[in-house]
């Protein structure tokens, strides 16, 4: 009996446990069903999107970047092309598309031999990346190499190539500071530009016009849309979006003038600006030392950029707009304008120059002139650059008025030239001196200021504007390098840079005439005498700036020349030239010969 009841009880226990398990099994199937509902019905659209992303592959079609021409561009003629593009290809592969490591090695090894690159470098690069990502094995490969690869497809399976035009700076160093260069977009730039449609693999203008006009030059990349399988074999391909080429630009720079100025400044440090005061067009802009943008954008450019960055001569510095120097005697123009405009002076009034000027005070202090000029009026003072004359004149009118006119003339403001990274000059004030040095403004400071020494400093482009004001009857035009923006086929002018007034100083005819006569006199029989034999009448002013540091093996003075021609001709034809040479002995020695070569070139090109 107990035997039977035990059996029954055990059977009962067995049935109970079986039902428990059946319940468990059913709930597991319900859970699986719920997850299927979740994936397919609730999140279905998300996963459909992800499946599409898996099989669709977008291959960028790079837009060709706009070219740059010099000012004499004429459609359908041989033009000076300053910057252009060269067709080139990138060899790419997707490592995951190979079936095995051996298969990959069997393709990559002969490919590396063909491309003359190190197999180990390529493999290290591949190993460091996600295998599903496109790897560029080699950039900048010519069409002939592509032909070899394409005709041996069985040997180079899974090897792909894409268009990757390379920027060519046809004149290398000559335009480096005007044109700048491009480079792969940096993470910081990408963050800033992402919303404007930039992509992380694109190049972007880094400096010069390439940087300033990037949005005009870059065009818009297109893409191929490919349906691919997991090994990236192509099932279908179509152009998803056509690339739109970038716009070309015509510069105001004249190739011939740029070339002469650039060659004249060989082995020198400094800058040269040639500008048309009437329109603000920059005809030449040279800064030395310079660099070759072609090298900067080349493969393995990191070392070159590092070298250029650490070079003590700072070749990346655009000295025409990014460096400031004491203006020295060229500042006498400002002192003269201030005196004449404030009705405190007449050009015929004279001072006596005994070779030095003694400032009376608690302790008498002597300020020297480089020569003994005797008694002279303002014309001759400008022409001979007599410092004693301007010591006395500056002392007479005071620093406030001088600084006021310096500011009017834009010496403490950026000129707004269409180049990135411009800096502005510096004009000291009484307040500034008290704050910085804890000293008040001394008369000695005024005397120094009146000949452009001491604390004052200006950029060459500001000086170019100062000369323009004299030429252009007190009107300073906005300086610019790009004259026109053309459509990619050059047939249509999309934008013309209209001359625009930057500032207008109501200078009296007497002031203008005094300065023009004085500067003309300086060329005829003064400090810029070398320029007097040229066929066109030139007016000019030299400057020799004392630098604080005295070096044994170097000249310790900066040389300036500011001038224009023709001295009394029509304003429309006038061209102003500013030359600034670091450690250039003296204006007359260091800067004038360069101005001379530039002016003779301008004359032979028929500018006047």
């Amino acid at each position: 009996m107990s035997q039977t009841s035990l059996r029954t009880r055990m059977l009962e226990a067995f049935r109970r446990r079986m039902f428990f398990l059946v319940g468990l099994i059913s709930s597991v199937f319900v859970i699986l069903l719920m997850q299927i509902i979740n994936l397919q019905l609730i999140q279905g659209e998300t996963y459909k999107q992800r499946a599409r992303m898996n099989m669709e592959n977008y291959i960028p079609i790079p837009a060709s970047r706009g070219e740059m021409y010099d000012r004499n561009f004429k459609i359908n003629e041989r033009n000076v092309v300053i910057v252009s593009n060269r067709p080139s290809f990138n060899i790419t592969t997707i490592p995951a598309s190979f079936k095995s490591k051996e298969e990959m090695a069997a393709v990559i090894r002969p490919l590396c031999r063909l491309l003359r690159i190190s197999y180990d470098d390529v493999m290290n690069d591949i190993r460091s990346r996600n295998p599903w990502e496109r790897v560029v094995i080699r950039e900048d490969v010519g069409f002939d190499t592509i032909v070899v690869i394409a005709s041996n497809q069985h040997r180079f399976s899974n090897i792909d190539w894409e268009d990757a035009p390379v920027r060519v700076y046809n004149y290398g160093n000559m335009f480096s500071h005007a044109v700048g260069y491009i480079g792969t977009i940096s993470p910081a730039e990408y963050k800033r530009l992402r919303d404007s449609g930039y992509r992380h693999y694109q190049k972007v203008g880094k400096s010069g016009l390439e940087g300033e006009y990037d949005s005009i030059l870059r065009g818009m990349d297109g893409h191929y849309r490919r349906v691919v399988d997991v090994r990236n074999r192509i099932e279908g391909e179509e152009v998803g979006l056509q690339a739109v080429a970038g716009n070309n630009v015509i510069l105001s720079i004249d190739f011939e003038v740029q070339k002469v100025a650039w060659e004249a400044m060989k082995d020198l440090k400094g800058s040269c600006i040639v500008v048309k005061p009437h329109t603000g067009e920059i005809i030449a802009l040279v800064s030395r030392p310079d660099f070759d943008p072609n090298l900067v954008i080349s493969k393995n450019n990191a070392k070159i950029i590092e070298e250029l960055n650490t070079d003590k001569n700072k070749p990346f510095l655009n000295r025409a707009i990014q460096s400031k120097y004491p203006p020295a005697s060229t500042f006498k123009i400002v002192t003269s304008i201030a005196a004449l405009e404030e009705d405190k002076w007449n050009p015929n009034f004279t001072f006596h120059c005994p070779g030095k000027y003694t400032l009376k005070g608690y302790i008498d202090r002597d300020f020297y002139c480089y020569d003994t000029h005797g008694t002279l009026d303002m014309y001759w003072a400008i022409a001979k650059s007599c410092s004693v004359y301007f010591y006395q004149l500056g002392y007479k009118i005071g620093p406030t008025i001088i600084l006021k006119y310096a500011e009017y003339l834009g010496l403490s403001d950026k000129t707004g030239i269409d180049l990135p990274g411009e800096t502005q000059g510096f004009l000291p004030t009484k307040k500034w001196k008290l704050k910085t040095f804890g000293q008040q403004w001394f008369d000695g400071d005024t005397v120094n200021l009146s000949i452009g020494q001491g604390f004052v400093s200006v950029t060459p482009i500001e000086m170019a504007n100062l000369v323009s004001a004299i030429v252009n009857n007190g009107i300073i035009m906005h300086p610019h390098i790009v004259n026109e923006v053309l459509s990619p086929d050059n047939k249509k002018v999309l934008r013309k840079t209209e001359p625009r007034k930057l500032r207008e100083i109501p200078l009296s005819p007497m002031t203008l005439d005094t300065l023009r006569q004085g500067m003309r006199l300086g060329v005829k029989s003064g400090t810029s005498g070398r320029l007097s034999y040229l066929k066109v009448p030139i007016a000019g002013k030299t400057g020799t700036a004392q630098t604080r540091s005295r070096r044994k093996d170097d000249y310790s003075q900066h040389a300036w020349f500011v001038g224009y021609a023709p001295f009394d001709g029509p304003v429309e034809n006038a061209v102003a030239v500013v030359v600034m040479i670091e450690y250039g002995v003296a204006g007359a020695v260091g800067a004038v010969p360069i101005a001379e070569r530039v002016f003779s070139k301008l004359i032979s090109l028929g500018y006047f």
């Binding site: 446990r17 398990l21 059946v22 099994i25 397919q40 992800r50 399988d229």
Partner: protein, 438 residues
Amino acid sequence: MLRRNEIYRIDYVLVSAVMAVIIIGILMIYSAGFDPIDRTNSGLYKRQIVWFIIGFILMLMMTFVRYKSLGDYCLYIYFFILLLVIVTTFFGTPIRNTRAWLTFGYFSIQPSEFMKLAVVIVLAKYLELRERDIRHLRELLVPTAVTAVPVLFIIMQPDFGTAMIFIPVLFSMLFIGGADVSHLVAVISIAAIALIFPMVLTYREWVADQDTSIIVSFFQDYGLLFTVAGFLMAVSITTYLLHFFLIKKVFRKIYIPSIVFSLGLFFSVVIMRFLKDYQKKRILVFLNPDLDPHGSGYNIIQSKIAIGSGGFFGKGFLNGSQAQLGFLPEKSSDFIFPVIAEEWGFAGAVILLGLLCLIVLRGAQIALEAKDKFGALLAAGISSIFFFHILINVGMVLGIMPVTGLPLSFVSYGGSNLLVGMISVGILINIRMNKFVY
């Protein structure tokens, strides 16, 4: 022997469900082997058809043999297959660094698949014989050994997934066979404690969690852990002795939990000390593939994309982009379910899952209605093999179970798996047929 009128007692519901699932599987293997770019097929489906025919014959044969004789010869079967497993472990054909296959010319078989069935037969026989004593802890020793020996050799192959499936099958058979639930819970708790703490620590180390709470510093101090484990062990032994002499139920409530915790902590220290970092990480990724999105995690992501993008009606036969363009890995074997879900959508997935559920529940019903305990345990064991395969495989492709290389019974490509499945179905039919025999 099969008498004429017995032909009507064949379980046609089970047979048609199994046939339907196998045919769906062959269609999907065809789809998975199709290459839309070269317009060729890998031809795996043809092999699967051959396996299906062989399996069908074996299934019929199993319905002729009286299942009781399986019990009588269980040890011969067990040791013969164990021998095959051992031979495979040392002399098998290495495929992807695993020696799990014995190759015979054109075909190869996987003895570890057959081992599952052999273990179930032995366990069924043993549990039937020890029906009355199974509540004692010592009676669990033989079933554990019977399972552990093949598992060890399969781990050496190494085929972690196949080895792991024996454990839940063993537990469900012990449960149905009448083992004390507290014993089973205790063993599972020890394993859980031994695993969870090292996993948590490794995980925190891996994600560089610097926040060190008291619990974390406690588990990083092995000496302290050993002390606690020893103390708990002492408590447990003392209370066990008290229980032995005084026979009071209250002591049971102390010594069982403390021995469980003590052993759990002890093993967790062992795991932390002797497992290498990469081994710990491998177990972690096994538990959570998202930690390794480029390795095994990649497969799960692609699998979920395939299933999810199928939507309600699917993309159509041979039109699933995930399967056809190769984004789905192992699509003929372990990841066959996503192919169905992608190409035939929710409708196809639910029909397949329903049929599989039907097979498992039909097996359970056969176990409940079986004439004797051996038949009942055999049917339950076979159903649990099916069930855990389905749970682990479908759970894996749906991203809710760890990644283990287990095929989906009847559907995945694989001869041994299909043969064992169909032999098992033959046994189930046999058990059901014999309930009418008195």
